[in-house]
């Protein structure tokens, strides 16, 4: 009964979405203000019904209703209740329902918090969000109905959730990532609404900015969580694989980052208007592309759970419609939005342009590397996968260039900046970062590592420029920090986070030491001044698995630091094996131990890894997200009337 209720609620939501898509848009052309206002109530109604549908599916999972094919395939009565709920978005149908729920949430949030928008713009924004919702709800109902019954041959027990996904990371990673993906639908809707209107309202950028920032914060968090989950759950200590599905989340992030910076120039100076609109289209199109890549099963990837051509064709058609339609609209209306640029030399506008060129170059090369295997397959050139060296070759220099540009940009002013001022301000940071880059690697590793030196240069350059700028703004009085705008502090926090993340990436790669070896109980091995003593293996039992648990004593200079207990789990249902790594974490280094397989004579294959500063990667990611959040809740977005531009430029904030 509950499943039918959920199904019905989804159909009602589709009806509401149709009304939301059509009526306000028609009203915006015919001038009926009551029609235009309809979008607000429809989007709230839609949220109620999609949420109802979602709750129904969750209840079916909790009640172990294996007559539902989706529940039977992805759950098991032995699962703890929290994994039963997170199993809801463990596979295709449920994760699309989550997509729809999040879209409805964003669209209701726009309806609630954008009361101050002009009616015309608000109506069109909600109408476009409604249209996207129609597409997704139709996709759900036609090709991926999670409420499908398996009658009369329903199984007594479910197949189980993939053990890899039975983890805290999977409870939080997908919803956060989707909040980001789907969040870019809001700036997209704003951009399309502006293009349909054919006029560029100067307040447009200020209305759209908090939405861009919020979506970006979620996406940043989602990617960080995903990388962290891969690190501790996949059992071999990697945190980024240039896997197509990871690329699918990084591309909208890069486009979104570019958008966030370009829209700031649009707000403050009115420049880059058509470019900002184009980026808003890009960011959402790439989010959709990501959904297509992951959900159509076209890729050989750890994440492609579904392989169903019907779904692929639907997604591809939807993608073509959205991307093609919006780009066509942009081609017709975009050029009219242009404004003659009036900036020169080392202006902040120029630095934001540099930022955009670097980010979009990175995005493009990832797009090419991700799609090339698909294109080659279609053209029958061969079955290809593009290796990580390709991505690293382009991405690393681009990001170092970005770090250098961010440091310079901190001191630039709108319109133009004196070259002499920049020289004065950058002198000290340049000195500090060069010294750190030359000297610190001498102490960090036995061999002098050039890649660590380059990393340290970029990191200390960023931190030092931020420090100098903060000192200037504070004027030596730390109490003034509360006087600085949240968007300025958010910017500096996010940029510091970038530095910390780069530190983690660069040093963990440069100084990583790892060994895979055969160990018998009682044997020890040395990795990077740490002694690992393999004590032995015992059998343990968990709620729905049994495991071989190893004990490894970790010593440094004869002193016991801790004992690590890596596991090799065997799941009762399905019989899948899984490696559970044991980690001794700290800010400056992680010790990562995992079990391979049992060998002859009671020996085991063991992987021992020492990873300096690896934790900084995710700490940096969190700082970046927090900075974005701080900027999004800046006071000026809550003012009803537009503030005078003078008091904003005085603060000189980019974000």
């Amino acid at each position: 009964m509950i499943a039918e209720l959920g199904h019905a609620a989804l159909i009602i939501a589709l009806g509401l979405a149709l009304i939301q898509a059509i009526v306000p848009m028609v009203g915006s052309f015919s001038g009926h203000s009551s029609w235009m206002r309809l979008g607000y109530s429809m989007s709230l109604g839609q949220l109620v019904f999609v949420a109802l549908s979602f709750v129904c599916l969750a209840m079916a999972f909790l009640a172990d209703d294996f007559t539902l094919s989706y529940v039977a395939k992805n759950s098991n009565s032995e699962l703890p209740y929290y994994y039963k709920i997170s199993a809801l978005w463990g596979a295709h149908e449920g994760s699309l329902l989550l997509w729809a729920l999040i879209l409805a949430t964003w669209s209701a949030a726009v309806a609630l918090f954008s009361r101050t928008l002009p009616l015309l713009l608000g109506a069109r924004v909600l109408s476009i969000l409604g249209a996207i919702s129609v597409g997704f709800t139709l996709f759900l109902l036609l090709t991926s109905n999670p409420f499908e019954r398996l009658l009369p041959m329903s199984p007594a027990q479910g197949t189980d959730l993939n053990p890899l996904l039975q983890d805290f990371g999977l409870i939080v990673h997908p919803p956060t990532l989707y909040m980001g993906y789907v969040g870019f639908a809001v700036p997209f809707a704003f951009a399309i609404a502006a293009l349909i209107g054919g006029q560029f309202d100067s307040a447009w950028a200020r209305w759209v900015r908090p939405w861009v920032n919020l979506a970006w914060v979620f996406l940043t968090l989602g990617i960080t969580l995903g990388s962290w989950w891969a690190y501790y759950e996949l059992g071999w200590g990697g945190w980024w694989f240039w896997d197509p599905v990871e690329n699918a989340s990084l591309m909208p992030w890069l486009a979104g980052t570019a958008l966030m910076h370009s829209v700031s120039a649009t707000e403050k100076r009115g420049v880059f208007r058509s470019w900002t609109l184009l980026l808003a289209i890009f960011a959402f199109s790439l989010s959709l592309l990501g959904t297509f890549l992951v959900r159509s099963g076209v890729l050989t990837s750890v994440h492609a759970f579904a392989a169903d051509p019907e779904r692929g064709v639907f997604m591809l058609a939807f993608l073509a419609l959205v991307v093609g339609g919006s780009l066509m609209l942009f081609a017709l209306r975009g050029p009219a939005m242009r404004k003659v640029a009036d900036y020169s030399g080392w202006s902040r506008e120029l630095m934001l342009l540099v930022n955009n060129v670097l980010l979009i170059s990175a995005m493009t090369m990832i797009l090419v590397g991700t799609l090339y295997p698909l294109i080659a397959d279609v053209l029958e050139i061969g079955k290809i996968s593009v290796g990580p060296p390709y991505f690293n070759f382009f991405f690393v220099p681009l990001m170092i260039g970005l770090a250098v540009a961010v440091g310079i940009a901190a001191f630039t002013r709108w319109k133009s900046t004196e070259a002499r001022l920049l020289r004065d301000k950058t002198k000290l940071p340049l000195l500090v970062s060069l010294l750190c880059a030359l000297i610190l690697p001498l102490f960090l590793g036995a061999d002098y590592s050039p890649s660590a030196a380059i990393t340290l240069f970029a990191v200390f350059w960023l931190l030092a420029t931020i420090g100098v700028d903060l000192k200037d703004k504070l004027g030596g009085n730390l109490g003034r920090i509360t006087k600085l705008s949240r968007s300025y502090l958010g910017m500096q926090l996010a940029h510091s986070g970038l530095a910390i993340c780069m530190l983690g990436v660069g040093l963990s790669i440069a100084y990583d030491e790892s060994r895979e070896l055969r160990m018998e109980p009682g044997q020890s091995a040395m990795v990077a001044n740490y002694q690992f003593q393999f004590v032995g293996i015992d059998k343990i039992a968990g709620p729905n698995f049994t495991a071989d648990r190893g004990q490894i004593r970790l010593l440094k200079q004869g002193q016991l630091i801790t004992s690590l207990y890596p596991e090799k789990r065997h799941y009762n249902s399905g019989g899948q094996m899984m490696t559970e790594a044991a980690i001794d974490p700290s800010l400056t280094r992680d010790i990562y131990v995992s079990l391979g397989e049992p060998l002859a004579n009671g020996a085991w294959a063991v992987s021992l890894q020492v990873k300096p500063f690896v934790r900084c990667i995710w700490l940096g990611g969190l700082m970046v997200a927090l900075g974005g959040l701080l900027a999004a809740i800046d006071r000026r977005y809550r003012r009803r009337k537009a503030p005078k531009s003078s008091d904003l430029s005085a603060q000189g904030a980019i974000l």
């Binding site: 993939n162 290809i384 060296p389 390709y390 895979e516 391979g596 397989e597």
Partner: protein, 156 residues
């Protein structure tokens, strides 16, 4: 030429040159790092290049996994149903690496005709077969069917 036009022309030329260079570099790096997939039959027929990173995949042959006594050296054979081919690897095999199931190895074919893998990937859940392997298996299966029908034709 008008100075503004001249400046615009310079910018356009700069952009064209930069885009060409970037595009060329992109294509070159893509070519360098594109790892082609070969079936065991293709490997046995000597179609694969040497000293280039390639991928080889198929079903792991039953009882072919051979662990060394005193190190992490391991060898196993993969098959597409027509031919089978030996893969060597040093290190820990993934959790889902099982005899009789699909695996894809990335590595290089040496001058000595030995394929040394640097990475071995197995399917990631019980019901999944990598598309390349599924494709190779079905091609081999079709070929086998054809051969069978022709050989039957000969004997009759």
């Amino acid at each position: 030429m008008h100075p503004i036009r001249k400046q615009r022309l310079q910018v356009v030329i700069l952009i064209v040159v930069a885009a060409t260079l970037a595009g060329g570099l992109l294509a070159y790096m893509l070519g360098q790092n594109a790892n082609y997939f070969y079936t065991p039959s293709q490997m046995v027929n000597g179609e694969a290049p040497r000293d280039v990173t390639i991928r080889v995949g198929g079903m792991v042959v039953e009882n072919s996994v051979n662990r060394s006594e005193d190190s992490l050296d391991v060898s196993f054979r993969v098959t597409d149903g027509l031919a089978d081919f030996e893969v060597r690897y040093r290190g820990i095999l993934p959790d889902l690496f099982v005899e009789g199931e699909a695996a894809v190895a990335t590595g290089k074919l040496g001058e000595d005709q030995i394929f040394q893998a640097t990475q071995v990937l197995a399917k990631h859940d019980e019901n999944y077969t990598p598309p390349e392997v599924a494709d190779a298996m079905s091609k081999a299966y079709q070929l086998k069917q054809q051969q069978q029908s022709t050989s039957q034709g000969v004997t009759q």
